[in-house]
Symmetry: C2
Subunit: 461 residues, 2 copies
């Protein structure tokens, strides 16, 4: 999941008041006071029982590269209310995170409310500058990873989950972050490219593509197709008129008694679009079958093209449904595929993949499961990437210690395996319980040791 630094993430991705405070700390001679801040949230999102912690890697990159440019320093000084002193400019020039230490739970861990996910120690003025970008990077990353994990739980392990959200995401980078953290949360692929190179390339996320309704309606009839030849998949020979081959298969389907003569005339614009797409991608034929009528046109047209491709040694990928009753339509399409497998002797055709999209979310996935369906793969967009059910996670970054003086005091008893210990609720005295730990694990590991030279789990390049 490594990748280039996000160009949006710089020391100026912060609230102005972090710099006004830095100036006030500096004026008071307090800027190097040693502070400890904890990052945590108070409530799991989506009314749920867990959160997936994400965004750590980007935080560490920010910290590793934290250095103000001369241009940024001039802008800060212009922007601070009133004039700022030359000594402060010198101080800003020398700021970096070499005196900062970061301890965190590892990225992708399931976490719970009120438990520190990230602890940042260092000079109070510098750590305050980190507050806003760190919250920005963790809040949405964890929210969308959690949302993806929740969709994965409802869909089940065996289904393929694709992220379809670019067009409705909250800005270009809202989309890029979403794509990366959906993958962490258990998605299989995204359908879109991304900045400079690609979300796929950027984070190593697989890409999946097909075509749109506009592609279907942009065709009028198969007569439009000029280049009609297609090599066999093994290269041994060439079919000179693939369009006719498709049409002959379509009539076989229309006359097949096993299909009960239910297939009449199909839409020719759609047939032309499918045929063209198959000529371009004979190894990856995935057809959107609901532009006109799924069962009377889309599925028979798909089957005709798929059977013609099969003649030339190509295996089709499947169909996509983007509207209607997905449970019913997927079931009906599956029946047709199974009949065709039997009728025309095509082993495996009954298992042709069915992808469903169209404003899917946790509730619609759950409803599909309850109704019974034949969908193999889901494309999930808006509800996933915008976290529509709850658009923000409320992580906070709280000062817990300054110059070794606690500002929030929690128990720091050292626990041992096998010993009965009394656990107290930090804020509610009446809540307490005895537990006997079977295993004791440090939740926070060092991810950025600063120049203190402590051993580090992860130092980015």
């Amino acid at each position: 999941m490594d990748g280039p630094t996000n160009p949006m993430v710089t020391p100026l991705l912060t609230d102005l008041y972090q710099f006004t405070m830095a100036y006030a700390y500096w004026k008071a001679g307090k800027h190097n006071d040693r502070a400890v801040f904890d990052l945590y949230f108070r409530k799991n999102p989506f009314g749920g029982e867990f959160t997936v912690f994400a965004g750590l890697e980007e935080c560490i990159k920010l910290i590793a590269n934290f250095k103000l440019t001369e241009e940024e320093i001039s802008f800060i000084c212009e922007t601070l209310p009133g004039s700022c002193e030359e000594g402060f400019v010198k101080y800003l020039r020398n700021i970096d995170c070499s005196d900062v230490e970061v301890y965190a739970i590892s990225e992708g861990t399931v976490v719970f409310p009120k438990v520190p996910l990230l602890r940042v120690e260092g000079p109070v003025a510098v750590v305050q500058l980190l507050e806003t970008p760190v919250l920005n990077l963790v809040n949405f990353a964890s929210l969308v990873a959690t949302n993806a994990a929740r969709h994965r739980l409802v869909a089940g392990k065996s289904k393929m989950l694709l992220e379809f959200g670019l067009r409705r995401a909250q800005g270009p980078d809202g989309a890029i972050s979403a794509s990366k953290y959906c993958y962490i949360g258990g998605f299989d692929a995204t359908r879109w490219f991304s900045n400079n190179v690609a979300a796929g390339r950027l984070f190593g996320i697989p890409l999946r593509g097909t075509h749109s309704h506009a592609f279907v309606s942009s065709f009028m009839s198969p007569d439009e197709i000029l280049e009609r030849s297609l090599h066999r998949s093994d290269g041994s020979s060439t079919c000179e008129d693939f369009v006719s081959l498709v049409q002959s298969w379509l009539s076989k389907i229309q006359w097949a008694k096993a299909l009960g003569n239910t297939v009449g005339e199909t839409n020719q614009s759609e047939l032309a679009a499918f045929t063209s797409y198959a000529l371009a991608f004979p190894n990856n034929f995935l057809a959107l079958v609901d532009t006109y009528d799924v069962m009377r046109s889309g599925v028979p047209n798909f089957c005709a093209v798929a059977l013609a491709l099969n003649d030339l040694g190509y295996k089709s990928v499947g169909i996509r449904l983007d509207s209607g009753d997905l449970a019913y339509l997927s079931g009906e399409a599956r029946k047709i595929f199974q009949i065709i497998e039997k009728e025309f002797g095509l082993p495996g055709f009954g298992k042709t993949s069915i992808t469903a999209s169209n404003d899917l979310n946790e509730e619609t996935l759950d409803a599909l499961n309850k109704q019974g369906h034949e969908v193999d793969c889901y494309g999930i967009g808006t509800y996933l990437v915008t976290c529509y059910a709850q658009a923000a996670l409320g992580c906070v970054f709280k000062l817990v210690e300054i110059n070794n003086q606690p500002r929030i005091k929690l128990s720091e008893d050292v626990s041992k395996v096998g010993e009965r210990i009394l656990c107290r609720h930090p804020f509610n005295e009446s809540k307490r319980a005895y537990v006997v730990p079977q295993r004791v694990e440090e939740l926070l590991k060092c991810y950025w040791p600063g120049k203190s030279g402590k051993s580090s789990e992860y130092i980015p390049s």
Copy 2:
């Protein structure tokens, strides 16, 4: 509102299927078919009656700079399922938007459902490549501009509105887009910096800063303050011990009969923080007064520092409330300010600015209005920038014409001023009405003429 191009917005900010379709169009010899696509939405967001159209400038920048790099072309060809032909690579190298024309409603206009906001004409393969980024750029921009406008309507014209959302926004650019389009939608300022240089600098948005709760709790007592001197605002003399001056004002407030002896001991950590902040920003003293107790500590401490500043010729900005009953607390604080104005003879002190923050949204602003309050300025974060009440706008980009063949047909009657005309609903025959137009205005203007050389309203540099 001009600014540099967003580095995230490149031709690869698109769905993979736009490139698989481009290849299929090219294979079928259809890639240069002349297509017309309309962008519109079906329903106003937030259950409302209007939408503010935004994102156009960024779309035009994308279109003006639309050119694939060699690196991007190699990635596309690697990623397309199966192999892509050399002729297609040559085609990709030559793609730009010189044959594309863009007509649009101007940015910031109030718009309604089912009305085309943007019409893109050009070679079908190129216009399809634009679909996803254009939707991404318009959907969130229009959503957040609408959300900002709705908050402005509830808050009223006279209030100052600040955007506070960076830490909870959907990724760094979710924040940057939000900040820009909140300003378009009627906000006064943002409190944060941004990429490379700054949201402020990037878009010319004013910045406002203060301090946080952590700043307050990082101080122990005024004894910590080492540098205690402060020049008078006119530079005529220097107060050698501003800390003592503040303390003498605090006792005057504590003993003031007009305040009913209600002020007891205030929090010394808070007093130290306010004093330090005032020493750093004597011309811009804005204090967060709710870390401990607003009425017993925060407001009296603020007044003591503000009165000391006044002695030296400085006018304080005001207070910020970030918790509690904002209607009640703002009213009580206003009373204190008015009493102090009278008691100590400080004209204008009664009008000291009160800023409120803390998870504000349309409903809480409305509730405050109904209760009556003394807030002058609102800082609005999460609910604003994530569009919490509805996290996505569903704009679509529909093929309406190909090679002059309509794919959706709407009336194109030319209307004249003063003539009675029959208006029909496009989809519901029974809905119709006679109207007499008083003014006829072209909704769509040309924003990108391509090389056709038509006059253009706006061509970006």
